[in-house]
Point group: C3
């Protein structure tokens, strides 16, 4: 895969070599993301951070990654009031907005919208999430986190045992992660969900075709007992036809310290694409796990910045220049990263 | 006209010499807008990009133009939740916000609001659109596009034959463009619209007083037959009392490749202030024209960045310094501009 | 008080020495805020400007202050659509967002929310307003304005006579200002409000315990007659259970030029935390005072930028470096500051 000038629309663009290249550059981004060093390699470049569906985390993460490379961000968070609402096609929106920036990140609730947008754009486009379809940078940061967490435990991704828990039907993070993991060898998937929210048959077939083992379960206790990674998800309320229907599945699978201690092997890593729903009736990942060193959920979001910096640097062909303009940070930075 | 420190509130501030000066500087901005060169001439300067009426295109275009000169943008896209909604006067808003920035772009749906705002502002203000009244940078970019397109055809603006099509009553872009064109010699205007959406008599009188010919028509086929420029507009739904009333005029004048081939002279330029309404019942400018090289609508929006950069540079008196700090772009840029 | 790496959550963190230190640095920020000089001391640093309650003035003021030090701003103005609305805890939001920036300013309508947020944040947090509770930078800019205005009149803060007028119950600006003034010597407070909107007993006790005199009044004319400072406030409509209840108190105390001339000593300073409600039925501070040189309300908001720059510089430990990277502004700046 040649990154320079490419759109990033789907995880299916990636093979193992491409993934490893992203991770290599992501590693190099760490001193910048951790505020030890500053680079100005993209000084004068503009990111169009176009979020036509609400998002704080992902939007700020992309914007921050761009800023850390020295570039400027122009942004939209408008949904109903945008030109699209006045009948403008994605083609027109793309042609226009791509005249304003060097790269575009786009999120929109309609599946396939970002593909349509990218085909008309004159600059590279990264899919920041199109409905329940794709969100490739999330999958990459998840896999990057798995790789780093496993490395800290003396293991790799090949042979990984992962339990995916919760709403596996609507969670696009899960779909994309499964695709990426399928590129590795002999991964063991345990899928734990209410029957109606199970992972789609097409995904399961794809995983099995790639030579991996898949076990489905509705019982969390046994499902999590031999996993290296627990990947817990929130019920994707906003994808359900009604709130009532979504509420039916809330709180069915709850992981807390007691459940963890009773069932998991030591050092089992806990992940979640966030936000986790901490309301009493949901609470899929209890706050009593916050001090558990195996809770990797905030390392995940930190890793998101590294991954997004890496994608930007590779697409704009500045990965090799990042260090040339580097200097030490001259302000107070907490040793909390 | 002395640009330094001036507000840009209306096209009536401009004479031919002032327009030519803006266009001259706009030409110089091209290598920066096209991402061949970077300048940092406004490094440390702040733009207050104050949009109290929704806008993606114009807002991002202004912000991008400022960024391309090296400055920072602080922005508002809030409408109902701003201090104005708590009873704050435009005077107060202007006094306060002008303490935060070096220049302000303001859009507000109330006609005259930006004038009121500017009279209290301590920094230069550009009108980014006040209701159906004025939007001077749009008129300048339209005229700049006309000039460049005609130059490519070995012609100038004097003697131009332009057909204005659609909602000429509420379209402020049309009003302002007519005023600017009136400064040139012997322009021939063909006004094509439903009777109820015709250009206001005061505008027609003004054009005729300036020595130009005006023909009104409700028949598009003949109206467009001898034009150099077709300037098509969207029905300004948001200016109508009800949606029903707006819908009555949707789709009355539609330009597509067949209509174009049958009626227009070769190389007739097609313009539109955008967004164009691509929904089936409107579709004033068909997508089958997208590959027509005379479709200038995206060159128009690209030109908007040049024009806005030029206005900023002239008002802040840095037009002559832009090249002093210029350097080559060091990242990948598509050859798509 | 050691500023480096600290959160700024409440005025109760400040003693007189700390306040004087902030004011000293704020004075040094003036040439930068007034666009005479540019500094790039925070080039590469990112502010997370997180406003979960609408605000234009305060949000832009913080963002501008950060930009003036050379840093970049990532922002949110989303309320209902944020992850918090999907059930995310302040703990999670803080852990995540603090991975994206070097400092965070947060506003949220829930009292105590910013404290909760700060305790989980990995970077310093400034409280930008939590409901009717605290808004420390507003109190500091108010006190800074008082100090500068009194200095211009050959006086200091010790021995000050201040009249606070209007909604003293819900106005958090008033609460925090009283706390700061209590640190000085022999301040004389006149509290003028409808009985139901009087300053809470706990605040009055605190002021008296600190050795100051407090007089309560419902009559404005006599209340303002011997004051150095009139601090007028808007009825905080958004804190009342219903609009009807808020309306009952609108327009009860109105200051205009006639009232001022008839009752006040010459050179009495007029302040207001803004926005002032200029609608006819409220109009607590009449526009006919706009040309009165003692109207300090816009000097107040200008001072806000100095104070916020000072807080940023002290917390990130760059106050001593600001001048090292200073250069003269190279663009046109109005002499209107």
């Amino acid at each position: 895969m040649d990154f320079v000038g490419s759109h990033i629309l789907s995880v299916s663009q990636f093979d193992r070599a491409a993934i490893e290249r992203v991770f290599e550059v992501a590693d190099e981004m760490q001193p910048f993301a951790n505020r030890q060093k500053v680079t100005r390699v993209l000084e004068g470049a503009i990111l169009g951070n176009m979020f036509f569906e609400p998002s704080t985390r992902t939007r700020v993460s992309f914007g921050c990654a761009w800023n850390l490379l020295g570039g400027e961000v122009r942004e939209t968070t408008e949904v109903k009031t945008s030109a699209i609402a006045k009948g403008e096609s994605f083609y027109d929106t793309a042609r226009v907005l791509s005249g304003y920036s060097d790269m575009i990140v786009m999120r929109h609730q309609i599946e396939g919208s970002v593909d349509e947008f990218a085909s008309a754009s004159r600059v590279p486009v990264i899919n920041g999430g199109d409905g329940s379809n794709e969100h490739p940078s999330q999958a990459l940061l998840d896999l990057y986190t798995i790789k780093k967490e496993m490395a800290g435990r003396g293991k790799g991704v090949d042979g990984l045992r992962i339990a995916l828990i919760g709403d596996l039907r609507y969670g696009r993070a899960v779909h994309s992660l499964c695709r990426l993991l399928s590129l590795y060898d002999k991964v063991h998937f345990t899928l734990i969900s209410p029957e109606e929210l199970g992972l789609g048959a097409e995904y399961i077939d794809e995983i099995r075709m790639a030579g991996h083992e898949v076990v489905q379960s509705t019982d969390m206790a046994t499902g999590i007992s031999h996993a290296d990674i627990l990947y817990v998800t929130r019920t994707q309320e906003e994808r359900f036809p009604t709130q009532e229907e979504a509420d039916r599945y809330k709180g069915l699978f709850r992981l807390n310290q007691t459940v963890y201690t009773e069932n998991c092997e030591p050092n089992t890593v806990i992940m979640h694409p966030l936000p986790r729903d901490s309301r009493g009736d949901a609470n899929e990942l209890d706050n009593d796990l916050n001090e558990n060193p195996n809770l990797a959920i905030f390392r995940q979001t930190d890793n998101g910045v590294h991954i997004r910096m890496a994608l930007f640097a590779l697409i704009l062909d500045v990965a090799d220049q990042v260090n040339q303009t580097a200097r030490d940070v001259n302000w107070y930075t907490a040793k909390r990263f």
